[in-house]
């Protein structure tokens, strides 16, 4: 049990460091790092605090406390993934609308150029 908790502690700490490094290099925007940092810190605290984990396992009716930690991990990452699915969908919609707008503006610009081309250049 202790070994599993230690592994989770180390992985959570690595996750925190990775996310902070990515934010520093501007690979992840600050607003999108919050979910990961929140998840990593929650796992870190739970894995270090045996009494909290025991209480949580008791509350959930789980006899083996590390299983409660796995369950919490799964729930946290599902929520993070769900949040990112919403963000990706919004980005895709904006991207499509933007691409269509660019195409329409480019088309209208070319039409204007065509209309205002001096007669000598028109074929």
């Amino acid at each position: 049990m202790d070994r599993l908790l230690n592994v989770v502690s180390v992985l959570s700490a690595i996750l925190v460091v990775m996310v902070l490094a990515s934010v520093r290099r501007a690979h992840i925007r600050v607003e999108y790092s919050v979910s990961w940092l929140g998840a990593a810190v929650a796992l870190f605290v739970l894995s270090l605090s045996g009494s909290s984990l025991d209480r949580l396992a008791g509350f959930l009716g789980i006899t083996y406390p590390p299983l409660a930690l796995v369950l919490v991990m799964a729930c946290i990452f599902l929520v993070v993934l769900y949040r990112f699915s919403i963000i990706i969908s919004e980005l895709k919609d904006s991207n499509i609308a933007l691409a269509q707008r660019v195409a329409i503006l480019q088309y209208q610009l070319e039409s204007l150029h065509e209309e205002h081309r001096p007669p000598a250049e028109t074929r």
Partner: protein
């Protein structure tokens, strides 16, 4: 292409992706079938010479900056048509499956009926039916699913040979299904209490390339479209309204 001047103006849109081998002939056939009507090819960022072939054969070309898929491509055409003030738009696929000889008939029904959408259907008279077994089964299945939602049978719910009037154009320029749009588009219109009518027409085998819907993709197609239909039914906006 200039803004639509006359009332009752029609625009033909042809979504095309890597249809270099077929699009030129399609544009020519459309121009022969309905002379004087502007033809707009929407190029979904083809890797081949689709836009230049379309221009050479007398079409205007709306070039998308990157590949959007069929729904995004068609919607771009609807948006431009709506902004230019067109009253009617008929979509013809760039692969040559739709016979442009039926465009005048679709246009006539669109103008004379009270329908917001007219569908060129290969199953009304069962004339020129070219479809795979999987697709035929899918069409039968969606006919059954759509019957209670639409309140009447749509014989060819997957047909992309579709004409719309300005009311439908306004709806589609704001909201149009992005992947496999034909079936969901029917439900979108039904939610607005719009009507549709089917016109018998002949479909031909595609001139080049392969259908994007293979046997393996059929299951994904059915699940995706069913979910899209279900979501659109849930989007029901209060009381039905007549335009």
């Amino acid at each position: 292409m200039r803004k639509a001047q006359a009332p009752g103006s029609l625009l033909i849109i042809i979504p095309a992706y890597n249809e270099e081998a077929a699009v030129g002939e399609v544009v020519q056939e459309v121009r022969r079938a309905i002379p004087g009507v502007p033809v707009l090819v929407i190029d979904d960022c083809s890797a081949d010479g689709t836009p230049s072939v379309a221009r050479t054969h007398g079409a205007e070309v709306l070039s998308l900056p990157h590949h959007l898929g069929l729904g995004g491509c068609v919607q771009a055409g609807y948006r431009l048509a709506f902004e230019l003030g067109y009253e009617y738009v008929i979509r013809v696929d760039g692969d040559g499956q739709h016979d442009p000889a039926y465009i005048p008939q679709i246009f006539q029904v669109l103008k004379q009926s009270q329908c917001q959408m007219v569908i060129g259907s290969r199953f009304v008279n069962k004339d020129g039916v070219h479809t795979s077994l999987f697709r035929a089964l899918g069409i039968r299945f969606f006919r059954l699913v759509l019957r209670p939602i639409l309140g009447k049978t749509v014989h060819d719910p997957t047909s992309g040979f579709v004409g719309v009037n300005r009311a439908a154009l306004e709806v589609f320029s704001r909201s149009f299904p992005l992947e496999y749009p034909e079936i969901e588009a029917l439900v979108v219109l039904q939610r607005k209490a719009f009507n549709f009518q089917e016109v018998p027409c002949r479909m031909r085998p595609r001139k080049t390339g392969k259908s994007t819907i293979t046997a393996l993709k059929s299951c994904y197609y059915i699940i995706h479209v069913l979910l899209g239909v279900f979501v659109n039914v849930l989007k029901y906006e209060g009381r039905r309204r007549r335009p």
